[in-house]
Amino acid sequence: MGSPILVYWASKLLKIITSHSNYSSLMKWKLLLLALLCLGYSGNAQKYFPKNDGVKASNNNYTALTNARIYVSPTQVIDKGTLLFHEGRVVGVGKRVDVPSNSEVIDLEGKSVYPSFIDIFSSFGVEQAKRNPSRGRTAQYEPSREGFYWNDHIMPENAAISSYKFDTKSAKDLRALGFGVVNSHIQDGIVRGTGVLLALNEEGNDSERILEDASGQYLSFDRSIAKAQSYPTSLMGSMALLRQMYHDAEWYNGGNVTTTDRSLEALIRNKNQVQFFAAGDNGHVLRADKIGDSFGIQYVILAGGQEYENIGDIKATMASLVVPLNFPEAFDVSNPYQANYVSLEDMRHWNHAPSNPGVLEKNDISFAFTLEGLKNSKDIHKNIRRAMEYGLSETRALEALTTEPARLLKKSEEIGTLDVGRYANFLITSGPIFEEETTLYENWVMGKRHVLADMNQKDIRGEYALSAGGKDFALSVTGTPASPKLEVKKGEEVLKSKITYENDWVLASFSDGSDSYRTTALVDKSTENLNGKMVLPDGSETRFTARKTGDFKAETKESDSKKGVPELLPLSYPNVGYGYLKLPEQEDILFKNATVWTGEAEGTLLNTDVLIKKGKITKIGSNLSAGGARVVDATGKHLTAGIIDEHTHIAGLAINEAGHNSSAEVKMTDVLDPEDIDIYRNLGGGVTSAQLLHGSANPIGGRSAIFKLKWGRSASEMIYTDMPKFIKFALGENVKQSNWQSFDRFPQTRMGVEQVFENYFQRAKEYQVLKDSGKPYRYDEEMEVLAEILRGERHISCHSYVQSEINMLMKLADRMDFKVNTFTHILEGYKVADKMAEHGVGGSTFSDWWAYKYEVKDAIPYNAAIMHSQGVTVAINSDDNEMSRRLNQEAGKTVKYGGLSEEEAWKTVTLNPAKLLHIDDRVGSIKVGKDADLVLWSDHPLSVYAVAETTYIEGVPYFDRSEDARLQQRMTEERSKLTEMMLDEKAGGAAVRPPRQKQKRTFTCDSL
């Protein structure tokens, strides 16, 4: 041992001195004292350090714990075993262990020993980033650092060790919860650098505690709060940045860069570290895994706690997870006006969250627990118990805190179990570790003892009889051995009472009316009774004996046995309101006697049958035979192809990557959100396919996602197979940033917009030449995408308003030898319709929007009709999650404004957008061989009176009005059940939170 007294005085002095801060020489004093402190501790590990405060003497004794129930690992238990350790490491464990004579022996009869816990997602002792004070409206486009990566949010060079300082208070708190080792890191930025693995022993110093000074590298999708560089502003931007970073590291590692980049050097250095990715919910686990897959990296992923929703997809990632135990509180639904705001989705998550660990276990997914995400880390034991009620096994719970984190850190040889050679990091408990009645007595770290509760104190729980002042009292001592509870009864009457039990002394008091009795007793191990001194109500003192009349019986809680396994309400696809309990199935259907809007040369056919089989349209005609298909009587109804929205922003978790004026590297497929309720609402308006476009913040936007609205399916199932490649471009006020206070980003004028394109395409040409030359080149995701455009493999859908800019882009494309596929919005397309026809570009426009900004002052509702008259392929799009559900009516307006024929009008929302999206070989009209994406309408589909009754995608009824009524009914019932359960929870005294509704952002082009 060091010199506790010296340490004590040194720290006292330090405190005194630091509280007087006037002297400039104070610093020197502090340093000296710090040195003294260190010296005081130095005896243990740093044996080669000189010693000047005494003679060198080391303690080579062993420690042996005997008669314990030892969990060597979660699956290997030894009853009445011995654990022997020496200099912080286990040297023997088993039934029969030779205990050397120089051993301190601790008898743990009746107690259990567990390996202590490990948290691999900790921020312990590491200085965390501070939010950068707002820099006003001026965006910072350049990095703030020199000699590092071009993006400030990439910080692999950060090392937690360099900003670490042992935090005595937090260490104590963590030990009280059972933790012995943590892997701590800086929780900020997209690449966060390495963590530090350290033990939480109080005694000793960092020379012992730090087990690994660079342990694991941490990543996330979240930009640094401390850095102001504008890129990336979006989720898909973060994803693209990570991809480019890995490419750049490879390029750098190949010796192709003449300058020094300390970030990439660190990234390369950290390559063999375990890579931890802080992902969370919303499908982010899958997103992170996908990035890893493209670069041969298997991340260990910090999940969000909703993995039970799509457990199959989670399992398929093969990733090990770190999962939080942050089960949400029930909502306070006692006020019906307010309860209304709580969405079914959130209520259901409350119901299911505690089942998440059990579901992971059942699906054989490897996971470790973390304190991260817990509002109050003290809840961890309570929440583990809760998870166990919902199916998590004790073994798996223990593994998630011991062997799993050790394995993930590749430190199984050091920590996680009590096998020989491991650190002596263990807990001593009164019983099974997760049980409520169990006391955690001691937490030993590296063989250093930390007492949490006195385990030698006798268990005094039980029933007692006491006579005092001529009255008889019955005492019942319950609770845990270390902190018992007292109930005192006089006859049937329960009296007010209080008990404390420390250092073998019991202090108990109770009052009978105004008469108060105070007792104090030193617990005598030789008798079952309690003997001591009592102060009677009259102030006189006397001896008392509380005679033990019965043993303590752990009460089986009535509520527990009554509760049984908690009820889990069924999950749905997707797991939000209006999700299906069972996914609707593909059907072979014969539509009889419909008015069929073919959208083809046949035009609109009256009293016609359409047969669909295996998701395809197989026959159109009259008096078709069903041949096993279900017959739908469509008399008086209209059958059309599903509506296709060329321009939507529904189902996106983000829309604009506004950090750069070109963002070709970002992909909307990365952020498709299959749970967006607007998918369902759009189906209700007959929409079956849509292009999720990037926003219009930049001249060169991001790559599109073209998807089918398969409500209940995953994002990858919604995206078109062999999806045509598209990218969003934009012109005009948005890219000039005219409508908000921004004056420092190029371009600020339409003149500048041309130059951005000119420059990027020129560079893409040069890039392509270099690539084709076979010489080494830096893989540039942005240039790759632009080169695709030049090669004619990727199509442009360009946000555009006024004629000058429309003309400009066509001329630029001519010069650069590519075609613009689609002008979207194109509100002045009518002024250059002839030029558009000549270029071969389509126009996808609003039916009647205008006047919302200066560049749409000449927008007219006749635009579609005029463009059509000049031979331009015209679509009507939405760019709006409300209007998209009524695109049939918007198409109807092209008849009103400019007199399109009804059949041509109908094509503006079906076949024409299909053509513009290059999917017209699959969808867009009713034609044999095309996908059975159909809508059955109650009325003429261009009429305001028409209601979409059923919407099919590939023969699957993803929306049906009568099914909708059933869904509503079921949701009402489920809400009422969950409300009941939440009210019960509140009545049971649990904490609740006020009603809230989280809502997805709704996006348009302009959303930043």
């Binding site: 209006y578 919302y852 009524r886 109807g892």
Partner: protein, 428 residues
């Protein structure tokens, strides 16, 4: 800075140049009869093969098969409707939303009933002009924003200037009731979506204090004029209407109970998203509803996808007097007013009842039904002829429109551009 001023100036010049409207029509000089039409009276009734005759801006005869006199317009197979009425809009107060210089719709201050829309109303707005070819001929022009936004006036859409446009001056005061829930201030790091508004009671009391002070002010004789209190007086005498903007059940109940208790004579509920839950309460207080337009998304994730489509029907079936407004939509959208009504028909409401929600009912709610909103002898000849069903985009095609018997131009900035460019292409 100089170039900024210069460019603003140039922009204004451009706008000024663009602000030429169709020349307002001259007063009706001869009797006009429309014959052979389906007359949609705006009160739920319909007259087939009807004739409507008007002189000096007033309907003098109406009925089936009547002989026309004066100038006769044969409208066989066509439909005649009363001019549609758009409540609560800032038409003419803002021209181009993103151009600040064209914005006169929202004055600073939270309780400013003394701010009057009418004097800023731009009778020559191109957006106003674009209402007419769809049959929207009248509007209530209201200041926007704040708690009490100001005082509205009702105008007709074919005028030389604001005085000329007035149908009813200073008709009502617009109060936006506080919400017991509010949206998260995401820019301050709060989650989006709704959370309880802890200031609700305080905000409510501020409104009630203002109202009670206004009432007390009116009862006594103050040495100094308080313009805000003064502007509230018509609400206590019943010469003006209070337009109460509220959507939640709680807010509606609170608002109406408190305003009635405070002595406000006429209250109209604007919004009423949850009004269908408390029809009896609304009936017992005799409150009409200017309900949210149908081309809206549900407020909450779990609300029925078609609740906004059905809402007017639900209120009508509950026996309430219902008109449709689109106060939350951009002004240019107001020409879609007939289609908002048409949308409810798709949900099973009778077409003539739906029509009344943008004509007869609205006129009654706004207090201009003595002259407008329905077709009847003695009422204003503010009406139009459509080739087909005006509530449906398939039929809404105006051939003639009249305000006070004056036949107005159906051309607009937009039709002119249409014709100009079709002309260009046809020449080539």
């Amino acid at each position: 800075m100089k170039s900024y001023i210069a460019s603003t100036f140039i922009l204004l010049l451009c706008l000024a140049k663009a602000w030429g409207q169709q020349t307002p029509a001259a007063a009706q000089s001869e009797t006009i009869s429309i014959t052979g039409a389906t007359l949609h009276l705006g009160n739920g009734e319909i007259v087939e093969n009807g004739t409507v005759t008007f002189t000096d801006g007033t309907i003098t005869a109406i009925g089936a098969g009547l002989q026309g006199n004066g100038r006769v317009i044969d409208a066989t197979g066509k439909h005649v409707y009363p001019g549609f009425i758009a409540p609560g809009k800032s038409l003419g107060l803002i021209e181009i939303n993103a151009v600040r210089a064209s914005n006169d719709q929202d004055e600073i201050g939270t309780m400013i009933p003394h701010v009057r829309s009418i004097i800023a109303y731009n009778a020559e707005s191109q957006v106003v002009e674009s209402m007419r070819p769809n049959g929207v001929l009248l509007g209530q022009i209201a200041p926007q924003g704040g708690r009490i936004s100001g005082t509205s006036s009702i105008v007709q859409f074919d005028a030389w200037n604001w005085e000329d446009a007035i149908v009813k001056e200073d008709d009502g005061v617009h109060l936006h009731w506080p919400g017991s829930f509010r949206r998260g201030r995401w820019w301050m790091g709060e989650p989006r979506g709704f959370q309880p508004n802890s200031d609700y009671e305080t905000q409510k009391q501020e409104v009630l204090n203002f109202i009670s002070n206004s009432k007390v002010y009116g009862a006594g004789k103050s040495e100094e004029v308080n313009p805000a209190f003064r502007a509230m007086q018509g609400l206590f005498t019943g010469t003006q209407t209070l337009y109460l903007y509220a959507n939640g059940e709680r807010e509606i109940i609170d608002g109406i109970s408190e305003l009635k208790a405070a002595g406000i004579q006429k209250v109209v509920l604007v919004g009423g998203y949850e009004a269908y839950k408390i029809p009896d309460f609304l009936k017992s207080h005799n409150i009409p509803v200017l309900v949210n337009f149908t081309h809206n998304l549900p407020n909450l994730n779990d609300d029925a996808y078609d609740l906004p489509y059905r809402l007017p029907k639900l209120l009508d079936e509950a026996g309430l007097l219902v008109g449709i407004q689109n106060v939350d939509a951009e002004n240019f959208q107001t020409r879609n007013l007939p289609f908002y009504a048409g949308q409810v028909v798709g949900q099973g409401l009778d077409k003539e009842k739906a029509l009344a929600m943008i004509s007869g009912n609205t006129a009654q709610i706004l207090g201009i039904d003595n002259r407008y909103g329905t077709l009847a002898t003695g009422k204003s000849a503010t009406l139009f002829i459509s080739e087909g069903d005006a509530l449906d985009m398939r039929g809404n095609q105006l051939t003639h429109a009249f305000i006070e018997g004056r036949e107005l131009s159906l051309e607009t900035h937009q039709t002119e551009l249409w014709k100009r460019y079709m002309g260009k292409y046809n020449q080539e």
